[in-house]
Symmetry: C2
Subunit: 419 residues, 2 copies
């Protein structure tokens, strides 16, 4: 992975640390979410695998180094730093909570301990990778919860912020509980089940809807999902029912989904297609899904796109990656409303509370952060998406997060040291 996928200041800081003789100093950085977005009582952690792969592959190619040398920001930087970059690898440690874990504001979810520049440079990439997938996994979890046992499929690649975001969003949505995605690359790369229906253009490409449906069934057989709203939805459902042969069902993609689904169900049942199912899509989110479910809409599967792929109501959140210790000295910033907590930490998950404490403390219960990379080598096997999904099932909702007394004392001591 190219080392250039970062902000310029990460690299000028790395050069500065090197020139100041600090490139060998051991530093620890922690990534956490400062505040949950509105409407969220928990987050589903995702994106850690991409963070791992980034750290393990991080390097600078010669043309990239030549590019950097030409930048005015590096005009005072001498050859030794460029030699250093040439052989630059991540040689440190990564601790992380496993993907699919419900996590809360203020909890470190990823921790990097490494020589200072090796901890600094990854900041930008780690924040992007983990924040985005966590947003989407969380949104998926909320939609799946609202669907009350009905299936939710991720259909949002066209609305994702680049096709690559579509692939990784599909991964996150699957971790969060969706049964699959429309994104074929996500299926190919990650083994996620892929789903599809049919296109309005298919219907338009034939002289009539009936002919279009008949030809569709020849290709897709029992798996056929008829998109019935190209011209007139009710007529579309009748055409689907009249096509003959077994088929998966129909998809409603516009209009009043409650009324349309009831009408479609009645038409299908009347035509003897009791096993045909109904998929609904069209600007759905957890609130609209919840309304449809509570109203008893006869919808079997929800297809969600825009709102899921972009986490539309919260397309970003305040994640931070902060230096917490350097050469055994705890560190923290105290900017107004942006203070950080010093010290190498661990999250202890007890029965009814999470305690953020120092890593040297012990508590009963689970410790969320586990070693993944040590000395630049992976020490924890790549996990299956299924295992992550199981972890994300039935998230606990809101949960109190406390700080240990030792951590409270440390922050006071660091503040005193500064003032």
């Amino acid at each position: 992975m190219t080392g250039l996928l970062t902000d310029l200041y990460e690299l000028t800081m790395a050069a500065g640390y090197f020139q100041a003789g600090k490139a060998g100093e051991q530093a620890t950085f922690e990534l956490s979410i400062r505040r949950l977005p509105a409407d969220r009582s928990y987050l589903i952690l995702a994106g850690v695998e991409q963070a791992i792969e980034y750290l393990l592959g991080l390097e600078f190619q010669e043309p990239e180094i030549n590019y950097l040398r030409g930048l005015s920001a590096f005009r005072s930087v001498g050859d030794p730093f460029w030699d250093y970059l040439r052989t630059f690898r991540f040689t440190g440690d990564l601790w992380a909570a496993p993907e699919g874990t419900p996590v809360y504001a203020g909890e470190p979810v990823v921790r990097v301990t490494a020589p200072l520049p090796e901890g600094q440079i990854p900041e930008t990439y780690l924040l992007a990778a983990i924040t985005f997938q966590t947003l989407v996994a969380t949104k998926a979890s909320r939609m799946v919860g609202a669907a009350g046992g009905r299936a939710v499929v991720e259909f949002g690649t066209r609305r994702a912020h680049t096709a690559e975001a579509g692939v990784l969003g599909a991964r996150a949505a699957y971790i969060g509980g969706c049964i699959g995605t429309s994104n074929v690359e996500a299926g190919y790369r990650f083994g996620i089940p892929v789903y599809g229906t049919s296109a309005h253009s298919w219907v338009l490409a034939f002289p009539s809807e009936r002919e279009a449906f008949a030809r569709l069934h020849e290709v897709l057989g029992e798996g056929t999902v008829y998109l019935v709203d190209t011209y007139d939805t009710e007529q579309g459902v009748r055409s689907a029912a009249a096509t003959g042969g077994r088929f998966w069902g129909v998809r409603l993609d516009s209009g009043d989904l409650l009324a349309e689904s009831r009408r479609a169900r009645a038409i299908l049942d009347e035509a003897g297609c009791r096993e045909a199912r109904i998929m609904a899509s069209g600007d759905l989110n957890e609130h609209r899904i919840g309304e449809l479910v509570r109203a008893g809409a006869p919808i079997d599967t929800f297809g969600v796109g825009t709102e899921l792929a972009t986490s539309a109501d919260a397309p970003s959140m305040g994640s931070i990656y902060k230096l917490v210790e350097i050469e055994s000295r705890p560190a923290a910033k105290f900017s107004p409303e942006k203070a950080s907590w010093p010290g190498i930490k661990q999250v202890f998950r007890l029965a009814d509370v999470d305690i953020v404490g120092l890593a040297t403390e012990t508590y009963p219960g689970t410790s969320l952060l586990e070693p993944v990379i040590q000395g630049g080598r992976r020490v924890r096997e790549k996990e299956s998406l299924e295992a992550m999904r199981r972890r994300a099932e039935r998230p606990a909702g809101g949960r109190p997060v406390m700080h240990s007394r030792a951590l409270e004392e440390l922050v006071r001591a660091v503040r005193r040291g500064v003032s």
Copy 2:
């Protein structure tokens, strides 16, 4: 570019067209924005170059084809289709408005004419590429407008939906008028000017802020931007001014930016650092920038991240890619609130109005859609980002969009044909 970066149904539709003997039928699809997001009176088109590169590189590798063959959706699909995919290339035409062009709701901005499957498969990728970059370029244009001549730099990669979205978002922001980006890969790949300041962790990594600043200046010299809010902002500005030597200025990243910038300006001036500049950042958007500018805040440069990289108030918009003609037969869908316009179209930009008409019509003024790919070969040279930026300068704001009489007549004729 892998053909798997798409939705499953695009590929099942392609297989269906192939099996139905329609793979050779000439089809035209048009991409347009159905509605502008709230608060927007225009859009700055971006992402076309990525669409071009996608189309020119589109192919299916053998392992990808093997993956598709294993999917249940393709169980009725025979070998001839897989042979077809093996040699699949885009052989059609692409017409597009140039990047940086202000565009409006309902205007086709990209038009693909190709054998039916070659027009169908790219839908997902083209929508993602163009919608996302257009959102960011538009947001950048609004921020740059609000800044009234002061510089705006894009700093949002950590908030982008994947690092790749950070790179392409930086590109779009530059087209929209930002002077540069913090994203180094965007600088390397696209030649965009890169900017950086310094890190809170730099300050934390030294025993005192004063020492941190002194060492920073040794590395960055005249380009040094001191981040002054790690402990106490006012003290930070004093430390910066006291460090000695010329430096770019200071960066305020928290607190009340109006008050802080005035205080910082006074301290810098008093210390004789009249040439030192002030950069401000921290959850800025076009509204907050406008307020600060109107209040006369002595801020020289705005650093914008989250709101720009995610187009936070409008992280998506309703873009569509619709079949408008097949084998010389105009086509349209009439779903409630989701109707599309039939026929191969052109956008005619007159002095005070845009007219969406049929491509066969002629009007005085500029025709927005220009040929870019013909017969699968690029016929328009890659354009510089500078040319795109110039096009985006001083966008016209809102602008009436009318349909030509010929187009109105066509849509009525197509509706009659269906009903």
